[in-house]
């Protein structure tokens, strides 16, 4: 699950959302808490102002110390009266008030004063007041200039209750936002991932045999277009390779079918009854011919297979192509009295790093082809020249030429211009494919040009040393 991009994206976005939410909700909670405490503080300050005239009257007006019940009836609506009323109801309001005289002795106590309450030590400086939280209560301590210390307190329990409710509330909000975020993120990620999934599906379909299918580039997002393009190209290449391989096996089996058919037909026909020695001999000869054709075929196939990974096997050395080709031209010219081979070397030495034997094999193959197609008496031209950093080798005949529609297929395996000619000449249609393989392994190129009726020219280009 955690290897899925979808889940990873989802996890990251949930983490981010949770972090942002935590900060925001914590901030909100703190502000709320401060606000509530500030309210309490304000109430305490107000209460202090109200109780001050009662608990710690200014010294000038200080009446002789009396018990509270002995106080004269205060003036209606005067601050003392208000203070008195307040103190009477102090328990209802959850306040408590305490006062200590300058000597530190308890002077007054109103409301539900906590049992452990003592004179703050040290008290605030004279004339100052300090507000603080102590054991769940908020307490305002005022040190009057005359040394009296007054404490007004209020339990924070109601504030804590409100805060607890706020916490639950915020938690609920947080969870709701997370749930919404999860669902939304899921939908968005699913949407974003859809092209990827589609590409995957298409690739799977191609893998399972629908080789003609390709990834639709039109609806792929720009970011995926490159990947889709590359994939499509890869599929094309694979497809080509499969096609070539298929055609090769089909061709190879097809090429072998005819000689096998000869062997079977000849022997089955011969075995139907007793025959004369001559008849048996004829059958054996036909079988031998078929066998030899299969042998040629098998050798060519092996050779072709070797050419395909020839790079590692090339025995390269520095050769003058003029010398190499001259040897080939003279030795192949001996094969035929009817076709003179005209050899024309380049004006300068053409040094190249090549496998001399292989290059001679290619040249011999081209000359032999030319000999086959040349009309009697017409010379075959083998010509070398330098062209920049490359050597050009031309082998030309004056034969019937090759029809333009055949030229593109000339270097393909088993391709024959005349479908039956090779049966007389013993070729398998692999010679030019092998030649191409060898030349390309040397980093060169081979090309053909032909005009029907005017002959055919093969041109090999090899890089010079």
């Amino acid at each position: 699950m955690f290897r899925s991009i979808k889940w990873r994206l989802q996890a990251w976005q949930m983490l981010l959302l949770a972090a942002v939410l935590a900060v925001l909700l914590a901030l909100h909670y703190q502000l709320r808490r401060k606000e509530l405490v500030a309210q309490v503080d304000k109430q305490l300050r107000d209460a202090l102002v109200i109780v001050l005239p009662v608990v710690a009257p200014p010294p000038s007006a200080l009446p002789p110390r009396r018990e509270p019940q002995q106080l004269p009836p205060p003036l209606a609506d005067g601050p003392e009266q208000i203070g008195q009323d307040f103190i009477e109801q102090i328990a209802d309001h959850d306040y408590y008030v305490m006062a200590w005289n300058a000597a530190g002795a308890e002077e007054a106590r109103h409301g539900s004063v906590p049992a452990d309450l003592a004179l703050p030590d040290p008290p605030p400086a004279a004339g100052k007041q300090v507000i603080a939280t102590r054991a769940g209560n908020r307490e305002l301590v005022r040190h009057q200039p005359n040394g009296v210390v007054i404490l007004v307190g209020q339990p924070l329990a109601p504030v804590y209750r409100i805060l607890a409710a706020t916490r639950i509330h915020l938690l609920a909000v947080g969870l709701a936002v997370m749930a919404t975020g999860f669902a939304g993120g899921w939908l968005i990620i699913a949407r974003v991932m859809r092209p990827l999934r589609e590409i995957g599906q298409t690739a799977r379909r191609i893998a399972s045999g629908e080789r003609n299918r390709r990834i639709e580039l039109a609806d792929a997002p720009v970011e995926l277009e490159d990947m889709a393009c590359t994939l499509n190209e890869t599929f094309d290449h694979l497809d080509d390779a499969i096609e070539t391989q298929k055609r090769f096996s089909a061709d190879a089996s097809h090429e072998l079918r005819t000689p096998i058919a000869v062997v079977i037909a000849q022997t089955q026909a011969a075995l139907r009854r007793d025959r004369s020695t001559e008849e048996y001999k004829a059958v054996l000869e036909a079988c031998l011919r078929a066998g030899q054709r299969m042998k040629t075929m098998a050798n060519s196939l092996l050779e072709l297979n070797r050419v395909e990974r020839i790079d590692a096997e090339l025995l390269k050395g520095r050769h003058d192509l003029n010398t190499l080709l001259h040897e080939t031209a003279t030795s192949t010219a001996l094969l035929s009295d009817l076709h003179p081979v005209e050899f024309k070397a380049a004006a300068e030495a053409l040094w190249a790093d090549v496998d001399g034997e292989r290059i001679q094999q290619v040249a011999a193959n081209l000359v032999a082809n030319a000999l086959q197609h040349n009309p009697d008496g017409c010379p075959i031209r083998v010509e070398l020249r330098r062209n920049g950093g490359k050597a050009e080798i031309e082998v030309a005949d004056g034969g019937a030429g090759i029809a333009p529609e055949h030229l593109p297929h000339l270097f393909e395996r088993f391709f024959r211009v005349d479908k039956s000619r090779s049966r007389e000449h013993g070729g398998a249609g692999l010679g030019l494919a092998i030649a191409k393989g060898i030349v390309e392994a040397h980093g060169g190129t081979i090309a053909v040009s032909s005009m029907p009726g005017q002959g055919t020219t093969f041109t090999i280009e090899l890089p010079l040393a």
Binding site: H254, R257, T258, A261, I264, A265, Q268, A286, K419, S420
Partner: protein, 217 residues
């Protein structure tokens, strides 16, 4: 029955000729499509065995051009056995298809099948009253009793049976029972007919003077 074998591979052509001649067919051969088409258009063969990959004119083209003029049964031989090729061959008008390498037995059987299909018969054994001709085994029985016939006599009765109820001219018989190597004189045919009548012991082969012979139903 007279066949045309169009095949450029000489060893295969020879093997087919040998085997089929021994089965009693009259045989002509051609080395390429051009020669094959010429012969196929000029003689009425009972069947043509046609290779597809040939020089000059390949089997496809020959078949296409032949079908514009004639309906001779054609058995196509090919080294390519792919579905596309088989479909194309059948669509172009070949009657059957055999992929190389093939068994001679199968070739013979398919050949017999396309010949009798062209004659409108569905099985290899042909009956006429108490006469029974087995084209697969090349045997003839009269009233269940086997009759020994020469190859030519058998070929004659088989051809007449295939065209039973119809007048078969002497030219037809020459065309279908002798190949281009034979130069039999016309009275030889009468000798074979005469011998056949004697051996079968039934007067089923009637002479239509000036026309030819007929095997009456």
């Amino acid at each position: 029955m007279r066949l045309l074998i169009v095949e450029d591979e000489s060893d295969l052509r020879l093997a087919l000729s040998m085997a089929l001649a021994e089965e009693g067919y009259a045989l002509d051969t051609a080395e390429d499509g051009r020669e094959g088409l010429y012969k196929a258009l000029n003689w009425d063969y009972d069947a043509i065995i046609l290779d597809l990959m040939m020089p000059e004119m390949d089997g496809w083209e020959m078949l296409e051009r032949l079908r514009k003029e004639k309906h001779t049964p054609v058995l196509v031989l090919t080294a390519r056995g792919e579905l596309d090729d088989r479909v194309r061959g059948l669509d172009l008008g070949s009657d059957d298809f055999l992929v190389k390498p093939f068994e001679m037995e199968e070739l013979s059987a398919r050949l017999r099948a396309i010949i009798r299909r062209a004659a409108g018969k569905s099985t290899s054994v042909l009956y006429l009253r108490n006469l029974e001709v087995d084209t697969a085994r090349k045997t003839v029985r009269v009233g269940g009793k086997p009759i020994a016939l020469t190859a030519m006599e058998y070929a004659l009765i088989e051809y007449l049976m295939m065209h039973c109820g119809k007048v078969v001219t002497r030219i037809d018989l020459y065309e279908h029972l002798f190949d281009e190597q034979d130069d039999s004189l016309s009275n030889v045919l009468d000798v074979h007919v005469c011998n056949l009548r004697r051996k079968l012991g039934i007067d089923c082969i009637r002479t239509r003077r000036g026309h030819g012979y007929i095997l009456e139903r």
